[in-house]
């Protein structure tokens, strides 16, 4: 049955924290809010893993859920890439992702939904060692790239960068423009007035930085000297604005963006972590709407709505706490 997924292990924060080098709590870490926030956020994701499966609540695998699964896959891929043999919760994440990827409802959309193709690429990256070639064969992906609309379909410039980034990671050949050429078309590359930037523009800026720096694993030649300093000033100002707006999703994304560009956490990043620590609830979720407010829906549907409104904030907080230049360099040295 579609609604059955592999039995999940009960979440256990101490296991996650103890087994994860990046999140291990040692003396002195209690003063580091990023470790607390990211550790508890990862615990929350683990505890709410079943919510990623819409069939558990009698729902369809719609675009919202597909996006959520792809984002969980990206998180799993990035953590596993850092720590190949640790963080057991990632195995549980991958079990759920694989189960859902194998449902016909998931891969029937590969040709139809604009966002579906990058989502497939992310999932294939995350499940690379799980032999999923029988679900959507490589030749289908190649056909999409060589003959289909995967590369010609119109996307925002930063979405083109995303596609390029994923194709490069997976070793798929493509004929997309260079990073520099795509960057020049992005919001960040065009230097718009800060007050004209809408939330969607800020997302474009953060994602542009994620892809061009491989989430803090490589310095980007496009970000140097005066331009780099200007971008960091812009990010810090936007971070202050996002904290004031209590837009916690963007707060995490902007923290991660800064950490992808700089080795040391500045005052704004420390303040951002303090703010996230304040708003994170006891379960580890970064609150979206107030759960005590009158819900629009009840019961399981209410839980689902709460989950969908919270998961991205929470997931991004994990990424912000676990990735970045400083962490990458520290790992390389050890």
């Amino acid at each position: 049955m579609i609604s059955q997924i592999p039995k999940l292990q009960k979440s256990n924060c101490s296991v996650i924290v103890d087994d994860s080098p990046s999140l291990r709590l040692v003396a002195g870490d209690i003063l580091r809010p990023e470790k607390l926030v990211a550790g508890r956020a990862l615990e929350w994701l683990d505890a709410h893993l079943s919510h990623f499966n819409p069939f558990n609540r009698g729902l369809d695998l719609d675009e919202t859920h597909q996006t959520a699964i792809a984002e969980l896959a990206l998180l799993s891929y990035l953590i596993r890439r850092r720590q190949p043999n640790s963080t057991p919760c990632v195995d549980r994440f991958l079990d759920v992702i694989e189960f859902l990827y194998r449902t016909p409802q998931f891969h029937e959309n590969i040709y139809h939904i604009k966002q579906a193709f990058p989502a497939h690429l992310i999932i294939r990256l995350a499940l690379a060692d799980r032999n999923i070639g029988d679900v959507v064969p490589d030749r289908v992906i190649r056909w999409m790239l060589e003959r289909g609309n995967a590369l010609s379909s119109e996307r925002n410039p930063y979405r083109m960068l995303e596609l390029r980034y994923l194709l490069e990671l997976g070793g798929w050949s493509h004929n997309l423009p260079s990073e520099a050429s795509l960057f020049r078309r992005t919001t960040l590359g065009r230097c718009a007035e800060i007050l004209s930037l809408m939330d969607r523009d800020v997302y474009s800026i953060t994602h542009t930085i994620f892809y061009l720096t491989d989430f803090g694993r490589k310095p980007c030649v496009l970000f140097r000297g005066q331009r780099l300093r200007g971008i960091i000033t812009l990010l810090e100002t936007l971070l202050g604005m996002a904290i004031h707006a209590q837009h916690w999703d963007l707060v995490s994304e902007l923290i991660l963006s800064c950490r992808c560009l700089e080795m040391e956490d500045g005052a704004w990043i420390r303040l951002g972590w303090q703010a996230l620590l304040q708003v994170q609830d006891a379960s580890g979720a970064i609150r979206g709407f107030n759960r005590e407010q009158t819900p629009r829906v009840h019961g399981a549907a209410r839980d689902g709505e709460y989950f969908l409104s919270s998961y991205h904030r929470t997931l991004t907080a994990v990424l912000a706490g676990m990735l970045g230049l400083k962490i990458h360099h520290a790992e390389k040295e050890t």
């Binding site: 007035e193 800060i194 007050l195 930037l197 000033t233 100002t237 971070l239 202050g240 604005m241 904290i243 004031h244 707006a245 209590q246 005052a267 303040l271 303090q274 703010a275 304040q278």
Partner: protein
């Protein structure tokens, strides 16, 4: 940088357009305007003169006489509740060449009443400054310094402050700097937190299209001598871009419906008037060297 880059021609064009709007709306709504509306319109006309760099614009002369008559007529009923407003009106009218004996006498009474009093509360700082400008007192008040309690204790609390709390903070910054006439008086840590957090707060309020609070925050940044920041430079350009074709500021999704009656129209007019004056006040103080409204 705003003061250096100030474009006189642009300021004059902005002022001309706003003056037409202010004079036209005064003509249209004068029967329904309250004391605060009259005061704001007077301030607006005065700022137009400042931005245009002229003593008193010929088109505004008649209006200034009308303002003078209005405020004189209000002395008996408003003398207690609107001391600051009447003092500001008197100061502007005197500066523009329309002094009124009645308002002068009122100002003298205020000066005598405050003479020998202890340190004034924040609410009276503006009155003391205006009396000083009129040479009715010899010294400026000594402001209360800003402390951590004014910002909620720390930078994060400041960033999470409500709009009401931010309005109160703007008021405190105005008082602590004597409306930009003195170096700000405050605890070092508090000034550091303000310099750190207030620019982002200002930008976010402007981005939310809370123009009045955003403009007040821009003035506060100016009083804190943070006028060389991205926030002030971008903020002023943003405010200038909010002037409509008719001269008022703000693109709000509001339109008086003919069938909804007069009160609705005056409410909408009041919103535009308040927004316009707040925007122009910030633009004039930041872009015009040595200009302070109060």
């Amino acid at each position: 940088m705003p003061k250096k880059r100030h474009n006189k021609k642009a300021g004059a064009a902005l002022a001309q357009s706003s003056r037409i709007w202010l004079l036209t709306s005064l003509e249209t709504h004068h029967e329904r305007l309250c004391f605060e509306d009259w005061l704001q319109a007077l301030v607006g006309l005065y700022i137009c003169d400042i931005l245009e760099g002229c003593d008193t614009h010929s088109e505004a002369s008649g209006a200034y006489r009308r303002f003078s008559a209005y405020f004189v007529s209000q002395i008996s009923s408003m003398a207690h509740q609107h001391v600051e407003g009447l003092m500001l009106a008197h100061c502007i009218l005197s500066t523009r060449g329309f002094p009124s004996p009645t308002l002068t006498s009122f100002a003298n009474d205020v000066a005598n009443a405050l003479a020998g009093k202890d340190q004034p509360p924040d609410a009276n700082v503006s009155i003391q400054i205006l009396l000083s400008r009129l040479a009715l007192i010899s010294t400026l008040p000594r402001p209360q310094e800003l402390t951590q309690s004014d910002i909620g204790g720390e930078a994060l609390a400041l960033l999470l402050a409500s709009e009401d709390a931010l309005e109160q903070l703007c008021f405190r910054i105005s008082a602590a700097s004597l409306f930009g006439r003195r170096a700000i008086c405050g605890v070092h840590e508090t000034l550091g937190d303000l310099a750190f957090a207030l620019p982002s707060i200002t930008l976010q309020q402007l981005r939310k299209y809370n123009l009045s609070l955003g403009a007040a925050l821009l003035r506060s940044l100016n009083y804190l001598h943070l006028d060389q920041t991205i926030a002030v430079q971008s903020g002023i350009r943003f405010l200038e871009a909010q002037q409509r074709h008719d001269g008022a500021f703000g693109f709000f999704a509001l339109k008086a419906n003919e069938s909804e009656g007069v009160s609705d129209k005056i409410t909408i007019h009041r919103l535009y008037l308040q927004t316009t004056i707040n925007c122009m006040w910030a633009i004039a103080e930041i872009c015009t060297p040595n200009f302070r409204l109060i």
